[in-house]
Symmetry: D3
Subunit: 64 residues, 6 copies
């Protein structure tokens, strides 16, 4: 029943299948709660909708 | 002022109007807080972005 | 697998058992997703940690 | 490290860059935690996915 | 109706009243949505429940 | 900058340090985003505040 919600930029997780598999198995190994009980949500946001230190991720990447 | 956030697969709630109406009225009946105070957010996620037991919802449905 | 998270003031839901029961059954009736698939989280927050219109719930209630 | 998540209607924040800048600087001024530590997520939802007082935002605006 | 949820360490916002006031007014100034429509939730978490770079905030502060 | 929020029962993660370490490293290995960029929040809820299939976790465990 634990729910794991990941907030990240769209496309940052190329392999979402693997991300879900690995987060679930890591949590299972630490807590002992069976893998079947876990729900994972990957919430992907546009780089314009993410702020780091007061600046959008879009701006941040453009500066690099 | 209570806020109810639903995380679910895109399209799983065919009738979002009705889902919002019913969740709000159920919460109102139990708590006595007036319906006008409630906010509901329905966050719909792609089946690739939802993990159940370490497997994406896409994979899960393909196996059935 | 839908997850319903309620954010509200501590103690506003006197009967949490009933709130969980009713939200789950309302969602089930609208979506057809079986009740057994739902998870509900009731996140209770201190009145000092809730803002309505820029004012804490504590201040708001004191003014009434 | 504080994380500020805003849930709002799609397009309600015309200037997301400015919203992120202002929320981060307001939080910094109150808490003293440096701006560089803040993450902001703006989650935009369709008006059909937002309920106010049991009615979708779409319906609400249509009535006005 | 926008909802602003802040996740931060317990006690990091000494003046929660002011934090709520300032976040609400910043968002109002950028979006034009009236202050009365905003809800703010400040979710405070123990330093043991916050991870930065894979290390709890408790460990991080102990190392400094 | 990805943020991982875990919602679970109070005490279900005996070793929160390890849970944070493992989730962060799993996400890093899949996405390539450096560990230093991750924030993890473990939100622990009372068993009375968690519903599974319409029943609180407290009731569920009592029945077993």
């Amino acid at each position: 029943m634990p729910v794991i919600t990941v907030q990240m930029g769209t496309g940052q997780a190329k392999d979402k299948k693997e991300l879900i598999r690995r987060l679930t198995s890591a949590a299972n190994e630490v807590t002992g709660i069976p893998e079947s009980s876990y729900i994972v949500f990957i919430e992907e946001l546009d780089y314009d909708n993410i702020g780091l230190g007061g600046v959008t991720l879009t701006e941040k990447l453009a500066k690099q």
